[in-house]
Subunit: 210 residues, 4 copies
């Protein structure tokens, strides 16, 4: 998941560390703990212990325990969106792009289960999540898809009698729907098969039949 971004990030070797090491230790500690427990049953004491960092330091870098989770999610999402944007480069035609979008989304969900758990299970019931800055990253992700759909409608590849936003929701919902059980039951995902099936069904619904 970090392959592309490294190439893109142009931080010179001499640059200042930007994120203080302890801040990093904290986020990493939370990521590790999230592998086994859900966020609510992870305590700040546990996080600080695992990070080998003073508990109070969490509150210097993050406003909140919840703020810490948002920060972790935000990091993930940034990478997620950056990678996806990169992956879509050079692909022509809305249909091909959607295929790629679906495949890549499933791939990234599959690749980092902690990210997926946060994104699909933890943050949703947070009050005010949908107003949060973090959610803006999700909207950016959704925006990527939206552009493709609009391109597809303009080019005539996608039928124009369904609201683009409905199509977008359908696709995003389908992706989540497919990945969720694997994430909860900790199954492997057959990325190719899942993407193919999903798109197969999708395109017979949304492509314009002549």
């Amino acid at each position: 998941m970090e392959k592309n971004i490294k190439i893109l990030s142009a931080e010179p070797a001499s640059a200042k560390p930007s994120t203080p090491p302890s801040r990093l230790k904290i986020t990493e500690a939370l990521k590790v703990l999230l592998r086994d427990k859900d966020f609510n049953s992870i305590t700040t004491a546990e996080i600080s212990r695992m990070a080998h960092v003073n508990e109070a330091l969490i509150y210097r870098y993050f406003i909140d325990k919840r703020g810490l989770l948002h920060a972790v999610l935000s990091d993930y999402l940034q990478e997620f969106v950056a990678n996806l944007t990169f992956d879509l480069k050079g692909i022509h035609g809305a249909i091909n792009k959607i295929q790629k979008f679906v495949w890549a989304s499933i791939h990234y969900y599959d690749d980092d289960r902690v990210f997926s758990k946060i994104q699909l299970l933890e943050v949703r019931n947070f009050p005010g999540y949908f107003d949060s800055e973090t959610y803006q990253m999700v909207r950016k992700y959704a925006g990527l898809l939206m552009e493709i759909i609009e391109e597809g409608i303009e080019s005539g590849d996608i039928r124009n009698d369904i609201a683009p936003s409905s199509i977008r929701q359908l696709i995003l919902g389908a992706i989540e729907h497919c990945c969720l059980p694997a994430i909860i039951f900790d199954h492997k995902i057959d990325n190719d098969a899942m993407a193919d099936n999903l798109c197969e069904i999708l395109f017979h619904g949304i492509t314009r039949k002549i």
Copy 2:
């Protein structure tokens, strides 16, 4: 508050005490609360308040807060298995029975979301769950299916080159897999369609092709 109910209940003096009314009040209270919150964020105080029962009484009837959840789940499972057993009566042929099994399982998951949530989300991460008495009920449920599969293999309806236990896991996994997103995202389930699709895929995989 509910004291007088005793007078009204026509339980004969000779009958076994069955479940004491307070025990029932507690389990019912938990069920109600589980509709809106996840188990960890429900407090014993809350449960006792909703049950109109003293908090300490929970510990007379259940060893634990967790034990209470297990008891609730156990009740559900008992009914679940009893119903399923009944539903399968009079159906002939392994394939038909599996079809019924799948349809009914989905139906019961769909019907009682609280039960489904406990079963599919809450108890799994409990340490020692799989050694628990409650889990024995789940094994009974799985056993029902196992018998059908073995019957199918014997009759030649089901291929014999796959271990029956693998087939059982496949089927149970598929059912959960299909129901879970609906439970989490609180969607409706199209029982017929879901059961049909699932079986369609299933049978082309596991039935013997001549």
Copy 3:
């Protein structure tokens, strides 16, 4: 301060203890601590330690640390109002009654410095204090004076060209004004002199001159 109320309270010797002993221990502990420190710098740990009671028990009897203070104040106020009501019995004429009201108010402020500190210094900056149930007791106290003023206006002893509420505020303000320095600097109060001076000034302002 407890002399009159004992006579008034009709609790039979056989009655149930009404307030649990631990609840009492907690309120008493806070009263003791308030003698030397201001409320904000008293910790719940300190209170429980002094009360020989578990810290969590505070929260069984009071919703809040602040709630505990309100309860203490409320107790005081109840007594305060009851005593004052009793003291005014059998006194005739608004002027005499006011004289008594002033004298007694100063007396009770003087008598229990902890009460006075809470009442005059602590609770005022609490957000929502003036909507609190406790404040209703204060209004009752103010109401006592209001009745006297209205009686005085009706009888012609008090001039009717000033709003009764203004007169009430003036008197209450003057009493507090006079008591406060003694409370803060922990001086003694010359009850008679203070009451006389205050009333002297007061009556030349508010009595009707023929």
Copy 4:
């Protein structure tokens, strides 16, 4: 942010460093904050934020958060005493001087409420306050009055059968006593009236009657 100010300030190279600008920023910040909150509920973080200064810098210039308050109070007191000393110049006779002393004291209390709050409310309960260096300034202030009283006794204007220290305490107490309610309840002070009344009472008590 304020770096350039150094260039503009025309302090000659030879001059003593006077107060470093950051030290000043800190004390000023505290003064501002004290306008709205009491000292205990002001945090060092808040002070440094308001001062646009690093939090740790507080501890370079002051041993303590409390030390900072003392420093602020000390500054005030220095000015207070200096002004008072100046105000008393050219006034003849102990009685006139006391009148001026009282009027001016009230005036300065009225003029700067922050100073008054610190002086009359905050520092008193500090352990060790009365041994502190800051308290020496207060003694200097009291000393000014003491000199006047002794002058009055010598000249026969003030009765000599009361210990001068008692007279001093009486006067200082009376001033504080009068100013305090206005400071707490944030009333205006009628400087002339208050000084006149206070002196009227004072002189009929302490002046020698022939």
